[in-house]
């Protein structure tokens, strides 16, 4: 898999910038793409789309429930709406509208949750979202995506626009290492083995993919670690995941989300049925966040390279 050359010295870029740029490109490719936002235009980076396609941009105000329903109505008329707000409101506030008006009705709506995980750091735990993947993963007809970085977010928008059906994509706010490149392929539903190893597999998503790669690097000579980027939480790439678990026999999951119901939950469910092995989950341990800088919070609540290393060592 094609990655950046110097892992220790990555460029720092925000996923949401990739999203905003990708959205403009999706708008250029397909005139049915429309964008709805709940009073967070600039921070969701949908301002780029607004500038390019003002007539296809809809400011919905601070009314996420209505926004989701309006998008469902638009989708029923053949438009491809992207619905934007912070993850804690979208799908947090409007989950029931997502369930009935979008998923049960099979409407082609794309939901994008910004500032997921500790993204809203200093704003406090009230708006930090660690439950969104769980909330969306449980819905039938849903596709759930977590890009690892800027490049992946950009490619994901285009892939989402082409996929017919409801999709949720979550992103964090701060700048994060760019691990993939323009040339790294992306197929929805296909997990990526970023680094091959024989003793432990780390299944990671989002910005934790970079932390997993660092952990693997640091353990060279001690433990042979495989790192898999599971950017599609649903549908889960059963084949790649089971094959890797079969090869290494030990599994760590890493995500900036609750260990309940997210990537860790999904992998544990899959492996329990298909190929039971020991699993350690790195992520938010059934807690709410608090005020702080995202990096301070990630360290305090245990979502770092060091936590991944600790989990790997517990398995060996």
């Amino acid at each position: 898999m094609h990655l950046i050359e110097d892992l220790r010295n990555p460029k720092l870029v925000a996923m949401r910038d990739g999203y905003g740029e990708g959205l403009v490109e999706a708008g250029k490719r397909n005139e049915r793409v429309v964008v709805l936002v709940a009073d967070l235009t600039e921070s969701t980076r949908t301002d780029l789309f607004k500038k390019e396609f003002p007539e296809r941009f809809f400011e919905m105000g601070i009314a996420e429930q209505n926004m989701m329903g309006v998008a469902a109505g638009m989708a029923a008329c053949g438009l491809i709406p992207f619905v934007n707000s912070y993850a804690c409101f979208n799908p947090g506030r409007n989950w029931e509208q997502l369930r009935l008006s979008v998923c049960l009705s099979g409407n082609n709506v794309k939901v994008v949750g910004a500032h997921a995980g500790f993204g809203n750091g200093t704003d406090g735990g009230n708006q930090q979202m660690f439950e969104d993947v769980a909330l969306t993963r449980v819905l039938p007809n849903m596709t759930v995506l977590v890009p690892a970085d800027y490049e992946q977010a950009k490619k994901m928008v285009l892939a989402m626009a082409e996929l017919v059906g409801p999709v949720y994509m979550r992103m964090t706010k701060p700048v994060r290492p760019k691990v993939t490149t323009q040339g790294t392929p992306l197929t929805i539903g296909k997990a990526q083995v970023l680094r091959s190893g024989k003793e432990v597999t780390v299944f990671a998503c989002g910005a934790m993919v970079y932390e997993a790669l660092l952990a693997a690097e640091e353990l060279v000579g001690q433990v042979d670690v495989e790192v898999v980027n599971v950017h599609t939480i649903k549908p889960l790439d059963k084949e790649t995941i089971v094959n890797s678990a079969r090869k290494t026999g030990r599994v760590v999951t890493a995500e900036e989300h609750s260990i309940i119901g997210g990537l860790g939950g999904a992998i544990a469910e899959l492996l329990a049925e298909e190929y039971p092995v020991s699993v350690k989950r790195v992520g938010m341990r059934d807690k709410f966040g608090e005020t702080g800088e995202p990096d301070e919070l990630l360290a305090k609540y245990g979502m770092t390279k060091d936590e991944i290393i600790k989990a790997i060592k517990q398995l060996i």
């Binding site: 809809f58 989701m68 469902a72 109505g73 638009m74 029923a76 008329c77 009935l100 049960l104 099979g106």
Partner: protein, 285 residues
């Protein structure tokens, strides 16, 4: 569409009421009061020439979109759609049965003529707003009608949707609210006071028309006024009697979410044969 007289339509409304009673009795569960109370409106909407549709081409691109937001009213909509020829009348007997297309609450496109999923209240109006926005964006002439209950107005999402409809000046949207003053827990004014609904909607920048929901002529005129109103969405408040046409059901909140038992159905059907609604008045044959 062939011109039909108001008398014929009133008679059709009563036949559809009888159909609803039979469907609900057969199913054993379901909502009686709202579907019976709104039968005159639904009859006028589909058979009085108010909207464009093709029963043999249910997803015709240029059709007017009818969004049932208050999903529990579906027995009357199912009966009307079958009467209009969207699907065979024989399917009405399958309401609420396993494997039926006539789900207890409607599921989008599961049945010809059903545009959205509803039941959980307040969601249809937002989808109707989305459809009206899409029509406007694409310069389409078709219109959107959204039917809601008055209890449904308790949902916050409804008012979010009204703000949005007014913002985008959705003159192609007509919201119809069945003001029958009942909801599951009792009279609306005891559960969560709603008066004055007309003043609230006017303050939200709607063109508001309040009418006798059993007067077919008033329904027709109200819809025609909506069609010639520009710059604003229209809200038609239908003042109706819940359970209309069946004396022991009328105005009783107990019949909001209940289906008649066999003996009650026999009595209800006998009453519906005797009573006809003409210009809002009840006359006995």
């Amino acid at each position: 569409m062939l011109p039909v007289s108001m008398d014929d339509l009133a008679e059709k409304a009563n036949l559809l009421r009888a159909e609803v009673v039979k469907m609900l009795t057969n199913a054993g569960t379901g909502h009686s009061a709202g579907p019976l109370g709104s039968a005159d409106f639904w009859t006028m909407l589909y058979f009085g020439g108010l909207i464009n549709y093709k029963a043999n081409d249910p997803w015709w691109e240029e059709r007017d979109r009818v969004v049932l937001s208050a999903g529990h009213y579906c027995p009357i909509l199912y009966a009307v759609l079958a009467e209009a020829g969207f699907f065979p009348k024989s399917e009405l007997a399958t309401l609420r049965q396993l494997g039926s297309k006539l789900q207890g609450h409607p599921v989008a496109r599961s049945l010809p003529g059903i545009e959205t999923s509803s039941g959980p209240l307040g969601q249809g109006i937002s989808q109707a707003v989305g459809m009206a926005l899409a029509a406007k964006m694409d310069n389409q002439k078709w219109r959107v009608v959204c039917f809601m209950g008055d209890g449904e107005q308790d949902e916050g999402q409804v008012w979010e949707a009204y703000l949005c409809a007014a913002k985008y000046a959705l003159s192609n949207l007509t919201v119809v609210i069945d003001r029958n003053n009942i909801q599951i827990d009792g009279h609306t004014e005891n559960v969560m006071p709603l008066d004055s609904l007309a003043a609230k909607l006017a303050a939200f920048n709607f063109n508001v028309v309040e009418i006798d929901g059993h007067n077919l002529m008033e329904i027709k005129e109200a819809y025609e006024r909506a069609r010639v109103t520009f710059e604003k969405p229209t809200a038609i408040i239908l003042r109706t009697i819940p359970g209309k046409g069946v004396d022991f059901m009328e105005n009783d909140p107990g019949w909001h979410g209940k289906a008649p038992k066999l003996a009650e159905a026999v009595e209800a059907l006998a009453e519906l044969r005797k009573i006809r609604t003409l210009g809002g008045k009840i006359t006995n044959d």
